[in-house]
C-alpha cells in the first residue's frame, strides 16, 4: 500500500486533481442541491420586483458600500427577531443580484428597516448627518446623496437584464411604465430619494408577519 501514496506524492498533477476532488465534497453536498430546492429558488408569494427608483437606490447602496457595515440577514435567534423583525429566508432573495447579505455588523441589520416605524424625514436627516439624530453614531455622513441626481442612463438596460438574465418577472409593460416614471416624476430624483425608497422597500415582503 505504501507504494500507492508515493505515486501521488511524486506526481503533482495527480495530486492537484485528487486534492480538488477531496475539497469539492463539501460543496457538492451542501451547495449544489440548493440550486434545485424550492425553498431557495421560488420567490415568496408576497415578493414584488423593485421599482426603477428602488433599483437606483440599491445601486447607490452598493456604490457607497453600505453592505460593508450593514447586513441584510436576520438570523433565527430570538434576540435578533426581537430587535429587527422576522428572520430572513431564502425565498426573499431569489431576485437579488447580487445579494447584499453582508457579513459584518458595524451598524444594525437593515433587512427589515422598511418595516420599522421610522419616517422618511428621519432617513434623510440621518443620511445627511447621522449624528444630528443619533449623537453616538459612528456612521459616515452621505450629504452628497441629496445633491446628486440619479444617473438614469442604464436603468432600462438594468431592468431588462434583471428580466431576461435573472428571471425577475417584469413584463415589457412594467418596464415601459417604470421608464415613463423615470422620464417623468423621477427625472430629477436625487440619489437620496432613491436610497430612501430602497430602504423603505426592505422587508416589505414580510409586512404581515411583523
Amino acid at each position: 500500500m505504501a507504494n500507492y501514496h508515493s505515486v501521488i506524492e511524486k506526481n503533482v498533477g495527480l495530486m492537484i486533481v485528487l486534492t480538488l476532488v477531496a475539497v469539492s465534497f463539501g460543496g457538492l453536498a451542501e451547495i449544489v442541491p440548493l440550486f434545485w430546492q424550492k425553498a431557495t429558488t421560488e420567490p415568496m408569494a408576497t415578493l414584488r420586483p423593485y421599482t426603477a427608483l428602488e433599483m437606483a437606490g440599491r445601486d447607490v447602496y452598493i456604490r457607497e458600500g453600505c453592505h460593508v457595515c450593514h447586513t441584510q440577514m436576520v438570523r433565527p435567534l430570538r434576540a435578533e427577531t426581537e430587535r429587527f423583525g422576522p428572520y430572513s429566508v431564502a425565498g426573499e432573495d431569489v431576485w437579488e443580484h447580487p445579494f447584499l447579505w453582508g457579513s459584518k455588523r458595524t451598524g444594525p441589520d437593515l433587512d427589515r428597516v422598511g418595516l420599522r416605524p421610522i419616517t422618511e424625514q428621519w432617513h434623510r436627516e440621518h443620511l445627511r448627518d447621522p449624528r444630528q439624530v443619533v449623537p453616538e453614531s459612528n456612521m459616515p455622513a452621505y450629504p452628497w446623496l441629496a445633491e446628486n441626481t440619479v444617473d438614469w442612463s442604464h436603468m432600462e438596460r438594468t431592468l431588462k437584464v434583471f428580466k431576461n438574465q435573472f428571471g425577475v418577472p417584469y413584463s415589457d409593460q412594467d418596464i415601459d411604465e417604470q421608464m415613463k416614471k423615470v422620464r417623468g416624476e423621477w427625472a430629477d430624483a436625487t440619489e437620496e430619494d432613491a436610497v430612501v425608497a430602497y430602504l423603505l422597500s426592505l422587508g416589505q415582503a414580510r409586512r404581515e408577519e411583523r
Binding site: P117, I118, R210
Partner: protein, 303 residues
C-alpha cells in the same frame, strides 16, 4: 427535498466518511517494525528519508472525528431528508426560545397591565423593561438618553406638545401624531422685515430681557398685533395647545432650534412633524409599559 437529492447527499456524506476510514486503515497497516526497515527511497547526499507511521495521538484524534461525525449525523440533520433523532432545526430552536421567553415574561406583563400607567413607572422592574423597549424602538429618534434632537422632542423635560398625562402619552405612542405648522410669512405681511419682527417677538416671549434693546422693543411692538393669526393655534398667551400639538412659545424650549434664523425658517416654511404609530408594532402590554417609562422620564425627582 426530493428523493433524488436526499440520496445524493447521503451518498456523498457516507462515501466521504468511508473514504476517510479506508485511508486511515490503509496507512495503519505499516507496523513500526516495517517502518524501521523501509525508507521512501529518497536519498540525498547519503541521507535517506524514512517512511514513518502516523503518530498515535494523531491517529486517535482522526478516529475520534470519525466517531463524532457518525454520532452527529445520527442526532442532527445532515443525511439528506433524515432529520436526526433529536429532531433539531434552527427554526424549532428559535420557536422554543421565543416560547420560553414568552412564558416567562407573560405573567410579568400581565402584572404590569393591572397597574395604571401613571403608577407603573415607580416599579423598578417595569422601568427596566420599559428602558429596553425604549432603547430598541424610540431611541433612534428621541435619543438613547431620551433628550431628543432637533425636530425630535425631548421626553425628559416635562414639556409636552400633546399633553403629558398618562393617556396622552399612550395615545401618542399607539396612534402616532402628525404635527403641522403651515408657512405663516404671507399671513403676517410677507416681507422679510415682518418675519424678522415676528421671530424677535416669539423669541422675546421666553426672554423678556431682550426688550431692553429699543430696536427689539420696536420690533416686538410691530409684531404683537399680527400674533393674532398665530394665536389661533399657539393660544392668545402663546402657551400652546395640546389638542393641536401647538408648542408653548414662552418656555424657552425649542424643538426646531432657538436661534433667530431657526425661528424665522419655521415662520417662513412651516414645520411638518410626524410621530409614527406603534400599534401593531408592539403588543398592547408593551405599549403600556413603554408609556409608563416615558411618563416616568420627567418625574424621576418624585421618588
Amino acid at each position: 427535498m426530493s428523493q433524488f437529492w436526499s440520496v445524493y447527499i447521503i451518498a456523498i456524506v457516507v462515501l466521504n466518511l468511508v473514504g476517510c476510514a479506508i485511508l486511515l486503515l490503509v496507512n495503519l497497516k505499516m507496523t513500526p517494525e516495517e517502518a524501521r526497515n523501509e525508507t521512501t527511497g529518497h536519498s540525498f547526499d547519503g541521507i535517506q528519508e524514512r517512511n514513518q507511521p502516523l503518530p498515535r495521538w494523531w491517529l486517535f484524534l482522526f478516529v475520534g472525528t470519525l466517531i463524532f461525525s457518525v454520532v452527529y449525523l445520527v442526532l442532527y440533520p445532515g443525511l439528506g431528508r433524515f432529520g436526526g433523532l433529536l429532531n433539531w432545526s434552527s427554526v424549532t430552536q428559535w420557536e422554543q426560545e421565543v416560547a420560553l421567553v414568552e412564558k416567562r415574561t407573560e405573567p410579568l406583563f400581565e402584572q404590569f397591565a393591572k397597574v395604571p400607567v401613571d403608577e407603573l413607572h415607580q416599579y423598578p422592574e417595569a422601568r427596566d423593561v420599559g428602558g429596553r423597549l425604549f432603547a430598541n424602538n424610540c431611541a433612534i429618534c428621541h435619543g438613547s438618553d431620551a433628550r431628543g434632537a432637533k425636530g425630535y422632542p425631548n421626553l425628559t423635560d416635562d414639556d409636552w406638545l400633546y399633553g403629558g398625562s398618562a393617556d396622552a402619552i399612550l395615545t401618542s405612542i399607539t396612534n402616532g401624531r402628525n404635527g403641522m405648522m403651515p408657512p405663516m410669512a404671507a399671513a403676517i405681511g410677507g416681507t422679510d422685515e415682518a418675519v424678522r419682527d415676528m421671530a424677535l417677538y416669539v423669541q422675546s416671549l421666553s426672554r423678556p430681557d431682550m426688550t431692553s434693546d429699543p430696536q427689539v422693543a420696536a420690533a416686538v411692538e410691530r409684531a404683537k398685533p399680527k400674533f393674532a393669526v398665530c394665536a389661533a393655534c399657539h393660544g392668545q398667551d402663546a402657551t400652546g395647545n395640546h389638542a393641536l400639538g401647538a408648542p408653548n412659545l414662552t418656555d424657552g424650549i425649542w424643538l426646531h432650534g432657538a436661534r433667530l434664523e431657526d425661528i424665522e425658517t419655521t415662520i417662513r416654511q412651516g414645520r411638518n412633524s410626524h410621530m409614527p404609530k406603534h400599534e401593531g408594532v408592539l403588543s398592547d402590554e408593551r405599549l403600556h409599559v413603554l408609556a409608563a417609562y416615558v411618563y416616568g422620564l420627567s418625574r424621576n425627582d418624585e421618588e
